[in-house]
Symmetry: C2
Subunit: 158 residues, 2 copies
DNA sequence: CGATTAGTTGACTAATTTATTCGGGAATTA
DNA sequence: TAATTCCCGAATAAATTAGTCAACTAATCG
């Protein structure tokens, strides 16, 4: 699980679709305008999102993109994984230069850490983000274990 | 909280220090050899780790690096934050082009998500990783809430 | 049908980040 | 003094991210 701005763009764009594609599909041009993301970059991202079955596309006038599944069945992990194709992270591809007996210390390490981060991000659905977006009060994302956290912490996190 | 290979390298290197600098400091050359990371890259990373007070350096023969604090007082979040300096992630720097009334949707979104990921990574200490490293059985990182997870999940996570 | 709207694709470029290489320092130990 | 090791900066290569462009296909509307 990698976490870069690319994945963030994708989640932001998907949230835009979730918010605005209720009746009619939304065009990439509209997303680009609202979220200030370059149209061509969105084209690349939505190409992947479509091929991964997260959105459906409608061509022609009045066309655009819609969610392929209900927002509560779509997680942040799904989105990030769709656009941010993974790296090996264990730098031994599972086999090669695992050397000096205690081979590939990092393998187990990152496999475990990856799994945890993945489980965490899989616990946040697009519906959660939509819910957070609607009300004006400063509520915060709900995690899979239903604990919350004051968004004030965010300041010194970045 | 960004999550890239750079941060992984840093965590791996710090884990190496935690494992091998029990009595004497470890040299970057030794880490480079064991973990297959370029020496000069390690120098850059450890420059940041040192300036952020995570390691102490000892010059001259027999010198090297040691942990500045006990492993149980050093978290993965500390390490990643030290080397992976943050980006704005809200693409409005907190002020500027937040436009069209519902300004900067992404701000709240990523602030919240960031906070959660940060809290999670702050819950994993270097001591946890060391503990995981020692035994031969396939145990897994312990999270801050002390739940565990089979590392089998890691496969379809990447 | 013809025009327009939008998705689809691929190639290409620029900017940024990641990783490495090199060359010299300065501190410490023996 | 000589060897070791951290320290620093510049230069470079490789990879990723972000954006641009152009040609094309499909669908709709008049």
């Amino acid at each position: 699980m990698r976490l870069t701005t690319k994945g963030r763009f994708a989640v932001t764009a998907m949230l835009d679709v979730a918010l605005y594609a209720a009746d009619a599909p939304v065009t990439l041009a509209a997303i680009a305008e609202r979220q200030r993301i370059s149209l061509s970059y969105l084209e690349q991202l939505f190409g992947k999102l479509r091929r991964n079955g997260l959105v459906d596309s409608v061509r022609g006038p009045g066309g655009g993109y819609q969610l392929a599944r209900a927002p509560q069945d779509m997680t942040v992990a799904d989105i990030i994984r769709a656009v941010d194709e993974p790296i090996d992270a264990t730098q031994c591809g599972g086999r090669e230069n695992c050397h000096d007996d205690r081979r590939c210390m990092t393998h187990e390490l990152w496999a475990g850490l990856n799994a945890h981060i993945f489980v965490f991000l899989r616990g946040v659905t697009l519906a959660d983000l939509v819910r957070q977006q609607r009300p004006k009060d400063h509520e915060v994302v709900v995690m899979q274990d239903h604990r919350t956290l004051p968004s004030a912490v965010a300041a010194d996190v970045l």
